[in-house]
């Protein structure tokens, strides 16, 4: 009896001791937080506003990264009143005057994400801690976007996501300081399914090859859900490593699997390689279940189409934006991008350019660079004239809602850039979903 008593008391002593240590440790952090109401990290205090462009300059998504960087430098020019102003003239409502942000000149620093979470966070930290970057923007992979977004939330630095298509970015991993203009995998599925049904019928067996990270997983899931709702069956889903280069070992089993649609959940150079190899293996010349085998690439871009060349013809997919769209915003952007670089911009370039302008505009509307106020200005903001028609930054998950393009590899391209034809502009109402279905929490305004 006495032994037991002794035991309990000793345990108690250790427990309370440890509790004391931990609370003593945590307490100062709790009190100092929020004590600097209007002071924030990297306040330029009247000097230049520094933007941090974190894009993949090496690795499987480097083509997209290079194009993103072109768009960013163009956006900085336009914000500072140089060049022809691009979308500054078509954006509605717009508070941008071409005199920088809040009258302060805009400059930028760059970093290489290497499409690796580690490297991306390193370069983001360098830009925030050393170069005084006020925001971080860019990225061409959802794995990277989620990792950098979490870092930015910790640092209290706004992250304007570039090309990231996973549901997680504004779903389960959404953050108060992270914003995404690009569309996501759910929207791709919702937009693509009716077109697939019309083209290929409702009795199909799909075989998925999926990039093995959060983007691939959510896209595969979204496409599977959308197509199974049509009545399709899913034969198999095979995960492939990012940057694999050789996909032949994944493609040969498809031939005898009984599947008649192959869904390639790949992006960038991976997609170029897997599609090229699928066609070299003669997938499209074969039949299964009495039907021609079809290939679907749910997320498409012109850069990838360029890489895949002939092979892309007739293949269906979705896109956030295409340079051939005929609206004032797109025309203005394509014109100034073309004048600067001599070729039309990709969808990655478009989303990054728009994100930069949206951030600048939000600062003007908030009247301050103080991040929590800028965040509030972006949340629920509706705008037009940026190439996608009327668009809303939904407050609940910081996801932009707008029309989605279903595109097809052009059968008869008129130029080397005219590679995608827009099959359908799927209205926003058809791809909208409830913010709560993916879970996740935004977190606090003040960090």
């Amino acid at each position: 009896m006495s032994d037991q008593k002794k035991n309990i008391s000793r345990r108690k002593v250790i427990k309370t001791g440890a509790a004391g240590l931990v609370t003593a440790g945590v307490a100062p952090m709790v009190f100092t937080k929020g004590a600097w109401a209007q002071e924030f990290r990297n306040d330029p205090k009247g000097g230049d506003v520094v933007l941090g462009f974190n894009v993949p300059q090496t690795g499987p998504y480097s083509d997209e990264g290079a194009d993103e960087l072109r768009a960013y430098t163009l956006a900085v020019k336009h914000l500072n009143g140089e060049g022809d102003g691009g979308m500054l003239n078509t954006m509605q409502p717009s508070n941008l005057k071409g005199n920088g942000i809040l009258g302060q000149k805009v400059t930028y620093v760059t970093g290489d994400t290497q499409t690796k979470s580690d490297a991306a966070r390193d370069s983001a930290r360098r830009m925030i801690e050393r170069d005084g970057a006020l925001i971080i923007t860019g990225g061409s992979s959802s794995g990277v976007a989620v990792a950098v977004q979490a870092l930015c939330q910790e640092m209290g630095t706004i992250f304007m996501a570039g090309l990231t298509h996973s549901n997680d970015t504004t779903g389960k991993d959404k953050k108060r300081y992270g914003f995404r203009h690009f569309f996501n995998a759910y929207m791709s599925g919702a937009a693509l399914a009716p077109v697939l049904s019309a083209e290929y019928g409702n009795e199909r067996v799909a075989y998925h090859l999926t990039a093995d990270y959060n983007w691939g997983w959510t896209q595969q899931e979204s496409i599977q859900n959308a197509t199974e709702a049509l009545g399709w069956k899913t034969e198999k889903n095979v995960l492939t490593p990012v940057g694999a280069g050789d996909f032949s070992q994944y493609i040969t089993p498809i031939l005898n699997s009984g599947a008649d649609v192959v869904v390639l959940n790949h992006y960038g150079k991976d997609m170029v390689n897997s599609l090229t190899q699928a066609i070299q293996f003669g997938l499209r010349d074969r039949q299964a279940n009495g039907k021609n085998i079809e290939i679907v690439v749910p997320l498409f871009s012109r850069l990838m189409a360029q890489g895949a060349g002939e092979n892309i013809k007739g293949i269906l997919g979705t896109s956030n934006w295409n340079w051939s769209l005929e609206n004032a915003g797109s025309a203005a952007f394509v014109k100034s991008f073309g004048a600067e670089y001599g070729f039309p911009p990709s969808q990655a370039a478009h989303t990054c350019y728009v994100q930069t302008l949206l951030y600048a505009d939000a600062c003007e509307r908030a009247g301050t660079l103080y991040p929590p106020e800028v965040i509030k200005a972006l949340e629920g903001h509706t705008f037009d004239g940026m190439g996608n028609g009327p668009t809303e930054y939904r407050a609940e998950d910081h996801q932009c809602f707008k029309d989605v393009l279903v595109v097809r590899g052009n059968q008869n391209p008129t130029s080397q850039f005219d590679l995608l034809e827009v099959v359908q502009e799927v209205p926003r109402s058809q791809v909208e979903y409830d913010a709560s279905i993916f879970g996740g929490e935004l977190g606090p305004y003040e960090v």
Binding site: V22, K116, A147
Partner: protein
């Protein structure tokens, strides 16, 4: 236990001063920000530990990145499951990397020379591939292992409420992601350096050096060299594990790319660039490579235009065009060139360069004195080196 020869004590004191004052003397180089300073301390520790194996025994391991990765994962899991306390995380990293090193070392050390290197390389690549495929429930594959709001964090949550935002690792309230994190890493680096010094001057260290100069002779004189080798392998694996743990402490995200063979290769480069077998050399090598990786890779053409602005316009254009190939994404090219130059002209690494300059000066001062100012113990002997 803490007594050491005067020379070692001076080295340690100087090293401590250099490391702890890094935030000051690195600022003219644009490298004085917490993110990079932490990396300097962490990779220096990794190189010091690697040198215990490669420098002392001459066994070239191409698999140390695996231990770095294991340490990182162990630390993040300790954050997720138990507590945000970095000491606990480091302890976890040590235990797991130690076990891992024991297993890999036991198998790999059955061979020596090139076969040993290839075995370690194979194991490291295997761990890397496993982290991406079979083990992805533990490692979260390509996404990287990250903290979430729903983590159990059993110990922390016993004493406080779950916060609204992600926790950061903190040592009893001192956050580990700023300069404090650097000093935490620096202190661990100094402890690691001290232990490495002790090992080098101990009978155990002498034994390892004996293995390096001639393992067969050691065997013939009646020593079983295998246990010594295994111990050295595990110690250096634990060093790598601590380094991995520290990477997670300063930035709680672990990615499988830390285990890739390029990461192991980088470590070999660091050691050779700085000077194999010396204590300070690998640290300098680590700093140079990390500096290049973070600073040179961030240079773009506009920065180059500023640097060469003093040149006439057309000359400037050409100079910028050529030099832009060596910065930014081309920084590997610069590193490769530098590595080739160092290996060809200074086989002993940068430390040999330092010694040559020192002896050159002392000879000029006193021409009668012989050039025996170098420390024979730290001098690598290329003729008797293994695995070259």
């Amino acid at each position: 236990m803490f007594s050491m020869p005067k020379k070692d004590a001076i080295t340690f004191a100087l090293f401590a001063i250099v490391v702890l004052s890094m935030p000051i003397w690195l600022s003219p180089f644009g490298a004085s920000y917490p993110g990079l300073l932490q990396k300097f301390a962490i990779y220096a520790l990794l190189a010091v530990g690697y040198n215990i194996l490669f420098g002392l025994t001459g066994y070239l391991s191409f698999g140390h990145a695996a231990f770095l990765g294991v340490g990182s994962y162990a630390a993040v899991w300790s954050f997720k499951l138990l507590s945000m306390n970095p000491i606990l995380a480091i302890a976890f990293a040590m235990v797991f990397s130690g076990i891992f090193a024991l297993a890999i070392g036991y198998v790999s050390l059955r061979r020596s020379g090139i076969y040993f290197s290839i075995l370690t390389l194979a194991f490291a690549q295997m761990s890397y591939k496993l982290a991406y495929s079979v083990l992805s429930p533990i490692t979260h594959g390509e996404n990287g292992l990250q903290l979430t709001l729903q983590d159990p964090r059993v110990i922390d949550l016993m004493f406080m409420e779950r916060g609204v935002s992600l926790p950061t690792s903190s040592l009893f309230g001192i956050p580990m992601n700023g300069y404090e994190g650097f000093y935490f890493c620096a202190v661990i680096l100094l402890i690691g350096f001290f232990i490495a010094q002790k090992i080098t001057s101990s009978p155990f260290g002498m034994m390892l050096k004996g293995i390096k100069s001639n393992e067969d002779r050691m065997n013939y004189t009646g020593f079983n060299t295998k246990p010594y080798m295994l111990t050295a392998f595990v110690i250096s694996g634990i060093y790598a594990g601590i380094a991995g743990g520290l990477l997670s402490v300063t930035d709680p995200l672990a990615g499988a790319e830390r285990m890739q063979w390029t990461a192991s290769g980088e470590l070999v480069l660091m050691t050779i660039l700085g000077g194999v077998g010396t204590l300070i050399g690998p640290v300098i090598g680590a700093w140079i490579i990390k500096y290049f990786e973070n600073i040179f890779s961030a240079w773009n053409e506009s920065i180059l235009h500023n640097v060469f602005a003093f040149l006439p316009d057309n000359v400037e254009g050409i100079v910028v065009l050529i030099s832009s190939k060596f910065v930014g994404e081309g920084w590997h090219l610069t590193l490769g060139l530098m590595f080739v130059l160092v290996v060809v002209f200074l086989p002993g690494g940068i430390m040999e360069g330092v010694r040559r300059i020192a002896s050159w000066f002392s000879r000029r001062k006193d021409p009668t004195k012989d050039q025996e100012v170098t420390d024979p113990e730290n001098m690598p002997k290329p003729s008797s080196k293994k695995g070259e």
